[in-house]
Amino acid sequence: MNKKTLAYHLKDIQHFYGNTKVLDIDDLKIQKGSITGLIGPNGSGKSTLLKLLAFAQKPTCGHILYNGQKEFPFSPTIRSKVTLLTQKPYLLKRNVFENIAYGLNIRKDKRHLKEKVKKALRTVGLNFEVFAHRKWHELSGGEAQRVAMAARLILKPEVLLLDEPIASVDTKSAKLIREASLKARDNWGATLVIASHDLQWLYSISDMQLSIFKGNIFSTGMENIITPPFEKYNKDLIAKKLTDGQIIKLKSPSPKTNTAIIRKKSISIDLETQKDLNILNQLHGHIASMLLEKKTGYIMSAISIHDMSFILRLTPDQISTLDLYPGKKVILKFQANDVEWI
C-alpha cells in the first residue's frame, strides 16, 4: 500500500477503560477513499475504535497517524476534517435547522446555508418545510437519527465515521443513507468507516469489512465465532456441545486463547452427510436468510445450527445446484483443524 493513499495508520493501539482492555490493535491501515465496514458483537469495541479514529478520545497506548502524521484531539488538521456520527445521536437543544447548520456555523461558512441545509435534509429523506423548524425533541427516533446524519453530511468531511447510522431508521432511509455515503466517497473522495449490526446493509455499502471481537481486529471480513465453554473431546480435540446434542469438534487451542474462529472459506455446504472422517464436522441446520452482496453478486447466507448462526458466501450456481432457499435443511462441513484461536 502506498503511504500517500493511507488515511489512517494505527500502530500498537491499546485502549483501556479502568483496568479493562477493550481495544488491542497492532497495526491497522485504512485507505483514503475506502468504505470500511465494522462488524462485531455488542461490546466488542466498535464505538471505542470510532471514537479513537475521530480523535475524540486518546488511546491509552499507541498512536494514530492521520494522512501520515501523528494527530491528537483538537488539532486543527483534524477538527474540520474528521466527523463522527455517534451511536446515540445527540441533538443540540435547538431546532433542526440550527442543528444541521451548527458545524458550518462553527466553520464560519455561512454561504448558501439554507440551500445546504435543505439539500442535507433531502439527502436523508426529510422535508425541509416540515422539519426545519421542529425543535430537537419533536422528532421520532428515526427522524432524529437522520437529522444527526444530515448534520454530518453537510460538512463534506474528509473522513466520515458512522456508528450504527441505521439503527432505528426505516428501510427506505437506510437506502438513502447508503446512497449518501457512497456519494460522499465518489463526489469528494471521503473515507468512511461504518459500524453496523445490519450485515446486509453493511455489505451493500462497504469495500471491505473488519470484524472486531473482544477488541481484536480481523480484517478478513465477517467470521464465524465459536465461544466457550468447551469440553475435552479426546487427546487432540476439544468440543463445543450444542443443546440439541450436536457437537463441534475443534483442534485444541493454545492455553491462553479461548475463542474459535472458522473462516467462511473453510466451510462448505451440502445436503447430505458423508462418512465421518472423525475430524470432520458435519452440522445439521437450515438456511435462515439469503442476502445479495450487490457489488460481488455473492449471496451471503445465514445458516442456523440450533442456536448458533454461521455465515457463508454462496454463488448463484451453488444455490441453483443445491436448490437452496430459506428454510431448506442443509449440512455444514468443516475440518476440526480449520480453526483459528484468539
Partner: protein, 228 residues
Amino acid sequence: MDYIVAGFFKAFELLISGDNATWSAVWVTLKISTISMLLSIGAGLPCGFLIGYFDFKYKKHLRTLLDTMLALPTVFIGLAVYAFISHHGPLGELGLLFTLTGIAIGQTILAFPIVTAITASTIESIDDDLKLTLVSLGAGKRNILATCLWEVRYGILAAAVTAYGRVLTEVGISMMVGGNIKYHTRTITTAIALETNKGMFADGIALGLVLISIAFIVNLSLSFLRKQ
C-alpha cells in the same frame, strides 16, 4: 402588623412622590448590582465551565472550597475589601473606599462563587454524548464552551438569578465598603437597615418593597429567556 400595611402605602408614596433619597438609593443599587453581576458572570461562567466540564485531580477539593466560599459572610468580605482599599491599605491610592466601585468589587467577590458553583454543577450534568457530538462536529474549545453553556441555559439563568438576589440584598459589603453615605453610597438595603434601626419599620418595609419591585422587573424581563 400595621406597619406592614403602612409600608405598602409608603412604598407607593416614596416612588410616586419622587423622593430624592429613595431614587438615589434605587439608582445606586441598580448601578452596583449591574456592575457586579457583569463581572461575576464574566468570570464565573468560564470558571464554572472549566470546573464542571473537565475531570482533574483536585476537582473535588476545588468544589469543596468553592462551596465554602458560598458561606463568606458579607461583613467579612466587606472587612477584607476595606482592608485593601482603605487609606492605609495596599490599594489605598486608588481612592476606592466609600465609592460604588468599591462596593461593586466586594459584591463581585460575593456573587462569583454562586455563579461559579451553580454553573459548575449544571455543566456537570451535561451528557457525555454532547461533548462527543461537539468534538465530532469540529467544535473548538471556544465553541464547546459557548455551546455547552447554551445547552444548559436554564441552569445558567438560575445561577445568575440566584447571584443577583444575593447581590441585591446584601448589606454587609455596602455598609462596610460604601459607608451608607446618603446620596452617595446608600443602597436600598443599607437604607432599610438604617430605617429599621431608627425604629421606622414601615419605612423599612416600604424600601424592601421597592427593592423587591426592582427584582421583579428585572426577573420579568429575563423571563422571556425561560422555556415555554
